[in-house]
Amino acid sequence: MQRLGPYFFILPAVAIMATGLLYPVIQAFYLSFFDWKIGTDLEDAPWVGFRHFIRMATDADVLESITVTLRFGFWTITIEMLLGVALALLLEKPIRGASLFRTVFILPLMISPVVVGLIWRYLFDARIGWINYYLGYLGIEPQVWLGDADLAFFAIVFTDIWQWTPFIFIIVIAGLQALPSEVLEASKIDGANWWQHILFVKLPMIRSILVIALLLRLIDVFRALEVMYILTGGGPGRATELLSLHIYNRAFDTQQLGYASAISVLLILIVFSLSFAILVIGNPMKDKADV
């Protein structure tokens, strides 16, 4: 019992994660070698070897989707980090009512991505959208936001910033408020001005939080598809088709399950290497157990 006990405790969870997460990942590798289409039996699907991977390497659509994902990641993460960190530094001092504001700020993170997509699809609507109406006051002509490649890209970036800046803001504030006050006092006594205080004391001290936040957001960029599925469906063309959405559309729109799996393999490799970076920074669960 003493020696087997722990295994009984971990077995159900490990079994579920192995069949529900790990097995599908392995299955994706396996399926990527077959030309399997919806509506046919997997046993009848022809083996194609590495042909999907070779095709993928020169597939302009896949390349475009990767480019869109990287551009999306660059703009959203840069703006969210700058805005989130700046606001956190500005507003870190505890004040009365701060918890009420924080409650409000986590709302975009708590509501369903489908609902986020719906709300912004309405706001960006070309005919009845509120955004076009109020831009009219500034003399800006109504735009077909979700029907133009650049504007639709702007729309998904904007929506992501609305949804995720609070996340950066909240974890950076938590990090700042956990800093030891002695060090902060010392830097003030040593005559550091406001900028020096932030650049050389505060930011370096929350460095690991910033790196983890960045990695988490980066991973999310590669996982995201629900908001875009509702907001634009990936269009117009492939202007807003992030890699995850591209895989989904390939699989269930053009019905190429095998080829979609090959692209999944690429996505898995990207996400796992980013996750691995988080693991290297630290996994608290690895620490020795208290026996």
């Binding site: 579920i16 529900g20 004040i95 509501i111 369903s112 996400v271």
Partner: protein, 277 residues
């Protein structure tokens, strides 16, 4: 620092917070208010913020003709089911990781963190293949299974942190008093873990309740969950905005309630990954 300057700082502080809160809340208010507007108001170009006669016709439609009750029931079954399994099995696993040494412990800890990030899009095709090949026809059970799998890594991580905060001495004292391992778990640990399980439960339920892409793929007419039902109001002939916003409003009620009653705990859970890690 003069008191005057301090005062103006506080004023600026509040002003910034209020502006940010408005930016956050306005889109949500747009949804809630649109759900209470009739079609003429919804289709009109000039936005109406507050001054309109609210109607419940959109709600009547989705309740009576929109199969809302069925979607709701499916969402509740799937949400509660996956939450219960995640908490029970995840709790056991976190407990073993926090309190016992065994061969393979580090492997389990690391791979749990690694699979946490598996993208739902990657799961979609293999999950579809599993359902087709094994002839699984209980959609809700399949969804509960996948949602449990998706939620377990984060729940284990969170609960691990909570178990770590409980001093080992408490358990040792109970053992010295002659309690069995099961009694230690139920009588000593669980009462101290209520807030930990509450946070993990909120995160799990919210993810299952909100999830869309796997539900879209794995459910049929009878087993659709609320987000899939809401997306169904987007048709080829256009979007029925009033109805869809009413549906959206109903979908966000549970996450909204959680947020207002447990904001502090949710924020603690969100930051745990980054700040402690």
């Amino acid at each position: 620092m003069s008191p005057f300057r301090h005062k103006s700082n506080v004023f600026g502080h509040y002003a910034t917070l209020i502006v940010l809160a408005l930016i956050t809340l306005i889109p949500i208010w747009v949804m809630v208010s649109t759900g209470f507007k009739n079609d003429v108001l919804v289709q009109q170009k000039e936005p109406v913020w507050f001054l309109f006669v609210p109607t419940i016709e959109n709600y009547e439609y989705i309740m009576n003709r929109g199969k809302f009750d069925r979607y709701l029931w499916n969402s509740i079954i799937v949400g509660v089911g996956s939450t219960v399994f995640t908490l029970v099995f995840g709790g056991f696993c976190a407990y073993a990781l926090a309190r016992t040494e065994f061969r393979g412990r580090v492997l389990v800890a690391n791979s749990t963190l690694l699979v946490r990030m598996v993208p739902p899009a990657v799961l979609a095709v293999p999950a579809f293949a599993m359902v087709v090949n094994f002839g699984l026809d209980n959609d809700r059970a399949v969804l509960i299974f996948f949602y449990t799998a998706l939620n377990l890594p984060f729940a284990i991580w969170l609960l691990f942190g909570f178990y770590k905060q409980i001093p080992v001495e408490l358990e040792e004292a109970a053992i010295v008093d002659g309690a069995s391992p099961m009694q230690v778990f139920v009588r000593v640990l669980l009462p101290l873990m209520t807030s930990g399980y509450a946070v993990a439960g909120i995160f799990t339920f919210r993810i299952s309740w909100n999830e869309f892409i796997l539900a879209l793929l794995l459910t049929s007419r009878k087993t659709r969950t609320l987000p899939v039902g809401a997306a169904g109001f987007i048709t080829d002939t256009g979007v029925e905005w009033g109805r869809i916003m009413a549906m959206g409003t109903l979908i966000v009620i549970p996450p909204l309630l959680f947020t207002f009653f447990a904001a502090r705990q949710i924020i603690a859970g969100m930051t745990a990954g980054a700040v402690k890690g």
